[in-house]
């Protein structure tokens, strides 16, 4: 057996479900509260906030202005077709909007929560019928395809609706993360505990924001997600997003075989565990690892302080995007932590036994899922 130098490998601890549950019920943060963690989380969320700002703007632009366009050649340009921008686009000197679409597809495909339920409702079908009628009148290609493939346009409208809803969700999150960075800069947030509390407050404040989406077809404004559908920020979009992107995710072609005979992927989507909290950061920027796009985007927006911190670790600039991914995972645990904290059925300090039991069950359900996640990132670095 060869002797591997200890400094070359490191394995973080893996807390049990019971430990996680205890932490959640005690109102403690999952992530260890250290100065380095604070810098990592706040700064990585700051860069994430800037990236989300671009993602959000583009998703909303796509949903509103590239609606049912057959060849959306300029969909990533946000309507600005200057030669300089096109050159930057061709040179790939840009945000990777493909990752935003990837998250949207994950949400659409996993299909959980209120938004997805509405996409199957009769009211939605009616809206679609109106839109399609107007659209096909002007567009002979769609007029030909629609009778032959009756589900085609509806599915595209569902996609556009999810795109727009995700854009709205990220708008809130972007602002929240940038606010967090400002709050940390002026000293009002100085611990991981405060970070979690700040995010929780932000989520709670936005919880009831309405989610609506209308399109302009042939000069007429039509609703896709009307206000009367009553879709709201937290339960209809944020929760399905967390489910689809943080928890379930999609298997990466670079690490999981899609071969049906190998049966590596569960037939039950609810059993998927490929999301942001479960993914292995080490292969970041390797082949077949979609989050690499996000890490690259955040790398382009990396705050100086975090960059300085990374330069002192492992390979410095050489493996910076793996380190971003590791910090990102920590910060996503903080966001999850805040979301769980904000959605407990009862206040944590409630003396009622029934309320305490309900909270315990809620915490246990989360802890069971998180126990298999990459909780090894929660400990401080040695």
């Amino acid at each position: 057996m060869p002797i591997i130098p200890a400094e070359l490998v490191h394995s973080g601890g893996m807390p049990t479900a019971a430990e996680l549950e205890a932490k959640l019920l005690a109102g403690q943060t999952l992530l260890a509260d250290t100065r380095e963690h604070l810098i990592e989380v706040v700064d990585v969320l700051k860069s994430y906030g800037e990236v989300l700002d671009a993602y959000s703007t583009n998703l909303i632009f796509q949903a509103e202005h590239q609606f049912l366009v057959p060849v959306p050649l300029f969909k990533y340009l946000d309507g600005e077709k200057s030669p300089a921008k096109i050159w930057r686009h061709l040179n790939h000197d840009r945000i990777n909007f493909e990752y935003a679409e990837y998250c949207m597809k994950a949400m659409l495909w996993h299909g959980t929560g209120g938004l997805d339920a509405y996409l199957d409702s009769a009211a939605f079908a009616e809206n679609c019928a109106v839109i399609i009628r107007r659209k096909t009148r002007r567009d002979p290609l769609l007029a030909l395809l629609h009778p032959l493939f009756s589900g085609f346009l509806i599915e595209m409208i569902r996609t556009a609706a999810t795109t727009h809803a995700l854009g709205q969700f990220w708008r809130v999150m972007s602002d929240l993360f940038l606010d967090l960075a400002r709050a940390e800069a002026d000293g009002s947030v100085a611990s991981i505990e405060a970070v979690v509390e700040f995010i929780k407050d932000g989520l709670v404040a936005a919880a009831a924001n309405p989610i609506t989406y209308g399109v302009e077809v042939a000069g007429e404004n039509l609703w896709v997600l009307p206000p009367e559908a009553g879709l709201t920020f937290l339960v209809d979009v944020a929760v399905p997003y967390v489910e689809a992107v943080f928890l379930r995710g999609l298997p990466f072609l670079g690490t999981v075989s899609f071969n049906a005979q190998a049966q590596q992927i569960s037939p039950d989507q609810a059993k998927f565990a490929y999301g942001a909290l479960f993914a292995d950061p080490l292969p970041t920027m390797g082949a077949g690892i979609p989050p690499s796009l996000l890490m690259q985007d955040m790398f382009r927006h990396l705050p100086q302080r975090l960059d300085g911190l990374y330069r002192k670790r492992t390979r410095g600039e050489g493996d910076v995007r793996v380190k971003i991914c590791m910090s990102f995972q920590k910060s996503m645990f903080c966001v999850t932590n805040a979301a769980i904290r904000g959605t407990f059925p009862h206040p944590l300090n409630s003396p009622e036994p029934a309320a305490r039991e309900a909270n315990r069950a809620y915490a246990a359900a989360w802890a069971a899922r998180l126990a298999a996640a990459r909780t090894d990132c929660l400990d401080p670095l040695p």
Binding site: I3, L8, L282, M285, T314, R315, D376
Partner: protein
């Protein structure tokens, strides 16, 4: 101007200067001096190349000084199409091995001096036109190499170094014995490179002397079953020494086979040739099969040398112009490719602390692994496996093409060895470079999947020598004409040693190798 003596003077004077330089010099300064000296040597080799006339098959730029004339020991140097590429390889690879010596803190002065002595001695051996002079240089290279292994080697270095010493000493004694025996038997003290004919010496004595030479050089090449010292020497030697050993020193053995075994005893050689071809095939297959079973990357590369050097014996046995030229190509390409592989294994070892294929995984990882090293490794193993477009292919093709008519079975078996090369090197690449990055045994998949691996980065300058070698390997593979022109006349001349041709016509297979009875 004594063109060739300067090729000896530069490294020897450099070594002397390093040893005698007064005062305490830091290792970096010593390395710089060695690099300058080796750079000069390589530059001078290129000047010699410029003066070299590739159209002539004779010894060129000859120099002669009487030394101990009564003994037949004469200082006589010359260069031809066989030695010219080897001198260049020696210059290039010694420079490479000095460049990739970075962390010598222990007795750096002696280390670099020994490196220079080896380079000079190897030049001397390739250029010597006198048997005793060759032997002097052949022995001169032995002791420094032994010291390099036994002082700067791995944990088990004493064993490996001693084994190397004993084997090579036996090799030296056999060679010297054969040379002296030749003098004794022919009754002359003329130690020049003149072929011996059967009028001068009875065939029985010829076979005896040739046998001694074959074993002597077979140890150096090395050929099965005399290869046993090589894997141990490689695993214990440091990377630069392995580069030198595989890239340059083994070539002394194959050079000896062509120059002295075939060159001095063409008739006896022709008699033994069918057996030699089978010996070559056995060596190729044995080396390749043993390589498959290895778990240590360096041992695997070492066994691959046993396999790939066997091709040269095959080519020498066939002794057609194309085969001999193929042998020269194979010496050059094996020198470059094995040096490249040892450099890369060295990088992996330096970064991970292990060469064990059961614990290394996923080194291609772009951010935390060794992706560029891995890319070069894929290139290197493919070159070694005879992938077209790289030096290994054209060399092997010529060896096989030149040998198949004479020895079909041995050639086909050797080609099988070429196929096996792909097997073991693919195992190496797939195990160590594909998969998730880790340097632990993959026993517990959960723990394995969570392991954070923090290997030190590979600085670009660390891969410069390997990149250079890789480019040379591709260049020779795509444009072999240059090397071909350099060696064609000489290899054709070697293949047409008059006595050999007549003997071959008597003894060996008919031209249509696959005619009845030809196969096998």
């Amino acid at each position: 101007m004594p063109m060739l003596s300067i090729l000896l003077l530069i490294p020897f004077a450099g070594a002397l200067a390093l040893v005698l330089w007064p005062g305490q010099l830091p290792p970096g300064r010593l390395r710089a001096v060695a690099l300058v000296v080796l750079g000069l040597q390589l530059a001078w080799s290129l000047i010699v190349l410029a003066r070299f006339d590739p159209t002539s098959s004779a010894m060129q730029l000859q120099e002669a000084l009487p030394w101990v004339s009564g003994l037949g020991l004469e200082y006589r140097l010359g260069v031809d199409g066989l030695s010219m590429p080897l001198v260049l390889i020696n210059g290039a690879l010694t420079l490479v091995s000095a460049i990739c010596t970075r962390d010598i803190s222990q007795r750096p002065r002696i280390y670099f001096a020994l490196l220079l002595v080896i380079s000079g001695a190897v030049n001397g051996a390739f250029l010597a036109e006198n048997l005793l002079l060759f032997f002097l240089f052949y022995e001169l290279e032995l002791i420094p190499l032994w010291a390099l292994i036994s002082i700067w080697g791995g944990a088990n270095r004493a064993y490996a170094a001693t084994k190397f010493l004993i084997f090579t000493a036996v090799s030296g004694i056999l060679i010297l014995g054969a040379f002296l025996g030749l003098a004794l038997a022919t009754g002359t003290v003329d130690f020049s490179l003149t072929p011996v004919s059967s009028e001068q010496l009875a065939m029985g004595s010829q076979l005896l002397l040739l046998g001694a030479l074959l074993i002597g050089f077979g140890i150096k090449v090395p050929l099965f079953p005399f290869h046993n010292w090589l894997p141990d020497a490689h695993t214990q030697a440091s990377t630069p020494v392995s580069v030198l050993l595989a890239g340059v020193l083994l070539k002394l053995g194959t050079y000896g086979l062509l120059r002295f075994c075939l060159g001095l005893f063409p008739e006896a050689w022709a008699q033994l040739a069918p057996g030699l071809a089978i010996w070559a095939a056995v060596s190729v297959l044995f080396g390749s099969l043993a390589a498959i079973a290895q778990k240590d990357m360096k041992r695997m590369v070492a066994y691959s040398s046993v396999g790939h050097m066997g091709y040269i014996l095959l080519a020498a046995a066939a002794a057609t112009p194309v085969a001999i030229l193929g042998a020269v190509f194979q010496m050059v390409s094996h020198g470059l490719i094995s040096a490249l592989l040892f450099l890369l294994v060295g990088i992996v070892y330096r970064k991970t602390g292990t060469r064990d294929l059961t614990v290394l995984h996923g080194l291609l990882n772009p951010e935390r692994g060794l992706p560029f090293t891995g890319t070069l490794m894929i290139l290197g193993v493919m070159a070694s496996a005879g992938m077209p477009g790289m030096a290994g292919f054209i060399s092997e093709f010529m060896v096989f093409r030149g040998s198949i008519s004479a020895y079909p079975l041995a050639t086909l078996l050797s080609m099988l060895g070429s196929g096996l090369t792909a097997v073991y090197f693919l195992l190496l690449v797939n195990r160590a470079f594909f998969g998730r990055l880790a340097i632990t045994p993959a026993t517990d998949p959960v723990a394995h999947g969570r392991l954070d691996v923090r290997l030190a980065p590979v600085a670009p300058r660390e891969t410069i020598p390997a990149t250079g070698l890789a480019m040379a390997v591709v260049a020779i593979g795509l444009l072999p004409a240059g090397l071909g022109r350099l060696s064609e006349s000489t290899s054709t001349a070697i293949a047409q040693l008059p006595a050999l041709v007549s003997a071959l016509q008597l003894a060996a297979a008919p031209l249509w190798g696959l005619q009845p009875g030809g196969l096998g």
